[in-house]
């Protein structure tokens, strides 16, 4: 029994802004299935009352003083851009308001 369908993979790809081919969909669905099967073993672990860990050494209140630092020169900022105009990054027309 498959835990992740082709349609589900297609939906995830859309969320992640990935255009995937039909071949990739088939391959990923199969491969993800194997991986997710292994992930399921995690569900067996009793983690009642266990706090999550996000870092090796817990660090607290790492804050910066509000002192300005130099920004990058604009030439350097725009140099990497695939398409720029009027000191800005040009992008094709936008469909969505968001996501």
């Amino acid at each position: 029994m498959s835990t992740i369908s082709r349609e589900e993979v297609a939906h995830l790809a859309r969320l992640a802004r990935l255009e995937v081919t039909d071949d990739e969909l088939d391959a990923f669905a199969g491969q993800l299935d194997v991986i997710l099967e292994s992930m399921k073993t995690l569900g067996e672990v009793d983690t009642e009352g266990v706090q999550p860990t996000s870092h090796a050494v817990p660090l607290v209140n790492v804050l910066r003083e509000d002192q300005p630092q130099p920004s990058l020169p604009r030439d350097a900022v725009l140099a990497g851009g695939p398409d720029t105009a009027e000191g800005r990054f040009r992008v094709p027309r936008i469909l969505d308001e968001e996501a």
Binding site: H11, V60, V62, D66, Q67, A85, F89, R90, V91, I94
Partner: protein, 495 residues
Amino acid sequence: MTKLNTYEAAVAAYEPVLGLETHIELDTNTKMFCGCSTTFGAEPNTQVCPVCLALPGALPVANKAAVEATIKIGLALNCRIAEWTRFARKNYFYPDMPKNFQTSQYEEPLCEDGYVEVTVDGESYRVEIERVHLEEDTGKTLHVGGATGRIHGATESLVDYNRAGIPLVEIVTRPVPGTGALAPEVARAYTAELRDIVRSLGVSDVRMEQGSLRCDVNLSLNKSGDEWGTRTETKNVNSLRSVERAVRYEIRRQSALLDAGDKIHQETRHFHEATGETSPGRSKEEATDYRYFPEPDLAVMEPGREWVEELRASLPEPPRQRRERLQAEWGLGDKEMQSVVNADAVDLIAATIAAGASASGAVKWWLGELSRRANESGAELGSLAITPAQVAELQGMVDDGRLNDKLARQVIDGVLAGEGGPAAVAAARGLEVVSDTGALEAAVDEAIAANPDVAEKIRGGKHAAAGALIGAVMKATKGQADAGTVRQIILDKLS
């Protein structure tokens, strides 16, 4: 064509439930997670660095001043400050968001469970605050090729990341039921109160027209006694008046739909300043899934109680309390004070009084002549090119008899035109009251000679006739005479 009910019919049939989400840009020196400057209006893409441009490898470090400002806002809104809080990533793609996720807060906001008291028509409402959290702003997108500079019809867009990463505080209310027909006014009053509170803290300039305070308005309707209805979220409502109009419009629109037996869609809508209408955002193929998770690049925060109490001790007098105090000090009635508040003139008047003017003088200028000027030019009162100190100076000149009201208005013309302070304008334009009695007596003699019949009437005891002679003298002196003095001279000469 959208069907609308009349507002009266709508609120007679349905109960509105309000909700407000407000974004406030903090005016820290630097951005939320990097040292780039936040100055408004810089050349595009000149205030960016590897961090706020999301270059590969760059990492965030949180701005202490922004965290403190958020805690102050939370305290001023009567919130509980979290003992343990952290940032989370909100994942979605949009070109003005460089990382394609926004560093925000999710389940553990900095501040929770507060409230704001507002008064509308003498009635008090408590708007409960669910949460206050800290996040970062996006860049700005310029849509080109379309007719209106809007996203629809544009052929391409240009992105400037100067604003990307500026600290943003989001303040979310709990649903506000029970406001009835006053929902639009309550929404406006809440927003105004919030703005005043934040401004009093000195952590943001809260300029709605510059986008440093932005509102999203949630609204649903239900029949009395029913469960709350489905809500819509109207985005980017950017003036106090628009907040009111957006609520009013949604009440009229939703009630018409409900009357027709239609369902309200839970959706995002856009407000149009020009028409006062809302329109739906592009319907989404699939529900948005932000895939929130704790930001692994930042440490958690545990605001110590000592730190929080230090910040609490630094809070200024709350605006509402201050208003009540000032109203008493200025000797204003409720209505008059309400006009002061509506005109956004509390701080201006207070500053004018502090600069030496009497309360009545300060109120008179700001609510009268200056409000009129602001209305004429469509500007905010506070953005007029005259300072409270200058208004105090002007009133001082009137009190000293150097200016009369008419001359004072001409002085204001000069000040607003950038010609200098009141004394300088009066001198340059020659706008002083003529107090040289010799010159006035000559002008009176001339007027008597020119109007023998009027003079005769006055001699006969009809003092009211003096007005005609006063008018003639004022005309002759181009309004620079003091009318009372002129009258006295006339009566002295003709009795």
